[in-house]
Symmetry: C2
Subunit: 220 residues, 2 copies
Amino acid sequence: MQNISKEDYLSIIYKNKDAKGMIKANTIAEKLNVSNAAVTDMFKKLSNEGYIDYEPYKGISLTEFGETFAKNMVRRHRIWEVFLNQIVGLPWDKVHDEANRLEHSSSDELINRMEEMLDFPEFDPHGDPIPSKEGKLPRQKNYIALADLPEGESGKVVRVNDFDEKFLNYISEIGIALNEIIVVEEKRNFDNSLKIRVRENPWNITKKLAENIFIEVKKK
Amino acid sequence: MQNISKEDYLSIIYKNKDAKGMIKANTIAEKLNVSNAAVTDMFKKLSNEGYIDYEPYKGISLTEFGETFAKNMVRRHRIWEVFLNQIVGLPWDKVHDEANRLEHSSSDELINRMEEMLDFPEFDPHGDPIPSKEGKLPRQKNYIALADLPEGESGKVVRVNDFDEKFLNYISEIGIALNEIIVVEEKRNFDNSLKIRVRENPWNITKKLAENIFIEVKKK
DNA sequence: TTTTAAATTTAAGCTAGCTTAAATTTTAAT
DNA sequence: ATTAAAATTTAAGCTAGCTTAAATTTAAAA
């Protein structure tokens, strides 16, 4: 038997925990599309097996064991994404869903072998960092959401959110990709939309969209 | 939820059915390492869902729908095997187990894409035929078990059984691979062992081993 | 501070696959 | 043709994850 859900819960926890390492049951329920009761249920199991610290009504956090496990799931996912993109040639809007399934069904040996084939990539096709075999994360560039870039400024795309295939599909169509330069030409207060320029072409995008694209900022 | 086992049952049925398309519950239970009761249970479900024809105590056979489905599972499995072997570089004794898991977790689009990358292979790394997208099987060469080759004769390996990693590992070590020529130098009646020659080297192997290696024979 | 709303947990119960033990049916052997 | 052995099915019950509805706890607002 496979334990798929346990693995899914753990990576969702890892990817969505706050600065203090805490996460609310509600968040998990929404992300995984299950009931709150299912989350509580899983909390008990994960806690029994030593993946998380759990006190009823108090919220949870990963134990060191849980963190290691979860980070490895994220590693598997992102290596699959790079592999599917680079080697198999799938577009970046298709790799997430496919990797979501494959990550549960491959041995660590296969993951390591793929990582080697890819020459130890540091980021996945959406700009997310890939933990190394030892659990180390690459140094991430500083970034802010495109929505927060001031009018008139521009910057390089270093990360995009990967949870929605249609979103990725749309931004590809208008020419947005990692390392592409985006200029914010106008920010319209009345509807919060933005006028941007990508490779000489102007586009109007919603704030919502701009909140899921991240632009490198120089460190001070 | 994933339905892994349903898929496993169906490919085992497809791969082990006899000339009349029938298969015994017992065989399935052994191959999948589950109880007979579990098999009966699954028969009811598969029958309800239209994959098999089932009458209690009478044995089962695949419906056309079931056959199509099962053949596609076998296709997925074998394309993964070729891919892991050719592209990822895994040895032939490692690909079966890995493919066994991956076959349940990949979209048909991915399988088709891999098939294209591999230039539409007809056989997997163990010499088993790969059904096409349309369900067509390549023309298989005629073969007999090495154990049945008469003393003094020789022939080319065109297929080996893939169910045991250690078996594959061992025969690789003594130089046996697809398309390799094997000479049967002596068949010993007292213990049924065989003396064979592979790439100039002599080896003694058991009958059991020789029953899992298949040698091309010319058609009459 | 009391009340109300939101978040979380408990309770009861579902499905897919699995098990062992007992009952039944088929097949093989006398 | 009868009996014994083998194969199959039924019955009862387990686990992992899931659900809805009701109960409880915590947080927020009046």
